[in-house]
């Protein structure tokens, strides 16, 4: 970055974002941050991009998760073993096949109901969904216009869990999405 006044502004904003995320922990939306720092969402977004590039280029042990409008600070993927040793006592094991499959459906299909997921898996997925919620990898919201049905979405924990700043960086992400879309679009019949 060159030290123009505008640039200086962005460096300061990036520094503020870093401090906010360190202090609060977890993830925060661009909108929440923009309210705190009294800057526009677009400015926060640009500064977040700058911060991400900077952290990745430096030798820092910290990375920025920057996915679907949410930001979070996370440990760099190269330190996984080290952090595993630190958290040994509170360990939940790695996700099993059912967990990864269900997570993949929500990741690649987009927000999904339990019926959408079971249509593809052909098995009751209630326990798996609950386990993913406990891990903080998915969240659920009431379906619009139907209070008895829930829609499950990916959280910011997912890119972190998969070691990328954003899900779009996953190898083959766009390909898999396109394949899913093609099959889903082929016939309009949706599960009841």
């Amino acid at each position: 970055m060159q030290e123009t006044p505008q640039c200086q502004n962005m460096i300061e904003l990036a520094s503020k974002i870093e401090a906010i995320l360190l202090y609060a922990g977890g993830s925060m939306s661009l909108k929440e941050i923009s309210a705190l720092v009294s800057s526009s969402v677009a400015e926060v977004k640009a500064a977040a991009g700058e911060l991400q590039t900077h952290l990745e280029a430096s030798a820092s042990g910290i990375r920025l998760i920057n996915d679907t409008g949410e930001l979070a600070l996370a440990t760099a993927p190269m330190h996984q073993e080290l952090i595993d040793a630190l958290r040994r006592s509170e360990i939940e094991g790695p996700l099993g096949k059912a967990g990864l499959e269900t997570l993949s459906i929500i990741l690649y299909r987009g927000p999904s109901t339990r019926a959408d997921i079971e249509y593809i898996r052909g098995v009751n997925s209630q326990t798996t969904l609950r386990s993913l919620m406990m891990r903080g990898l998915i969240s659920r919201a009431e379906k619009q216009g139907d209070r008895r049905s829930f829609v499950y979405s990916i959280t910011t924990e997912v890119p972190a869990y998969l070691g990328v700043s954003s899900a779009h960086e996953l190898p083959g992400f766009a390909d898999v999405r396109a394949q899913m879309d093609a099959v889903l679009a082929a016939q309009p019949t949706e599960p009841a």
């Binding site: 990864l100 690649y108 898996r121 052909g122 098995v123 972190a160 898999v176 016939q187």
Partner: protein, 239 residues
């Protein structure tokens, strides 16, 4: 823990089984491959004695569609209704989606993980209650949460016999075969009004052949199937 495999206690359903059978044969998902793996699928259901609560019916639904396909492959007289065609397409579509997802999920296995920071430790909290902090609100919140916890029934498997209807049909078949000693499948199927009945009859016939109760001949690819009674009157059971 190190391999992308099914964990103990995890349950794989009929679609996983079908996809495994098709992929083992290096086939593409189509009515042809579905029909080709129908026997293996049915053998699996018969050999498996217990399914988790509520899962057996999923297998039966898929089995019915497979039988339909298999029957059509062997009996050109059998034409499927629009609903049945829809079932077949739906099954193919579900398998295509599962195949994509399984491939994608495998790629997500064992990636280096990042851990989101939990925030700076709070050393100087300031007691800040809120207006909604009341005895009643706390009690109600807890009751709501406790009611929503599903009671686990992972080991609560029930014995099911997905072949019950099959056994009944075999009883009928045995009687018919004994009466005629030799009849064509067309004659046999001629008495059925529902194509599904033809299908179950066909399955029953395959079973009789396997068990050695009947001999089946088919002269050419689209010719009628001839059934002959093999001389044993006892009825096979699967229990």
């Amino acid at each position: 823990m190190d391999a992308f495999t099914v964990r103990q206690g995890e349950f794989e359903g009929p679609l996983h089984l079908l996809l495994n059978l098709i992929e083992e044969r290096k086939m593409l998902i189509s009515d042809v491959s579905l029909s080709a793996v129908a026997d293996s699928f049915l053998t699996y259901i018969k050999e498996k004695t217990a399914f988790p609560v509520g899962e057996a019916s999923q297998f039966i639904v898929v089995a019915a569609t497979l039988l339909l396909l298999k029957s059509r492959a062997l009996l050109p007289v059998l034409s499927l209704s629009d609903d049945e065609e829809g079932d077949v397409h739906d099954l193919e579509r579900r398998l295509q989606l599962l195949q994509i997802i399984r491939g994608a999920a495998k790629e997500l296995w064992a990636r280096s993980r990042m851990f989101i920071g939990g925030g700076v430790s709070i050393t100087d909290p300031l007691f800040t209650p809120a207006p909604d902090l009341t005895q009643v609100a706390l009690h109600d919140a807890l009751v709501r949460v406790l009611t929503a916890v599903p009671m686990p029934h992972a080991h609560d498997e029930v014995e099911v016999q997905p072949v019950i209807s099959l056994n009944e049909m075999i009883d009928r078949m045995v009687t018919r075969v004994q009466q005629a000693l030799s009849l064509s499948f067309k004659e046999f199927a001629g008495g059925a009004t529902d194509p599904r009945e033809v299908v179950v009859g066909f399955l029953a016939l395959l079973e009789l052949v396997k068990q050695g109760f009947a001999h089946v001949d088919q002269d050419g690819h689209f010719n009628d199937i001839r059934i002959e009674y093999a001389g044993n009157t006892s009825v096979p059971k699967y229990d």
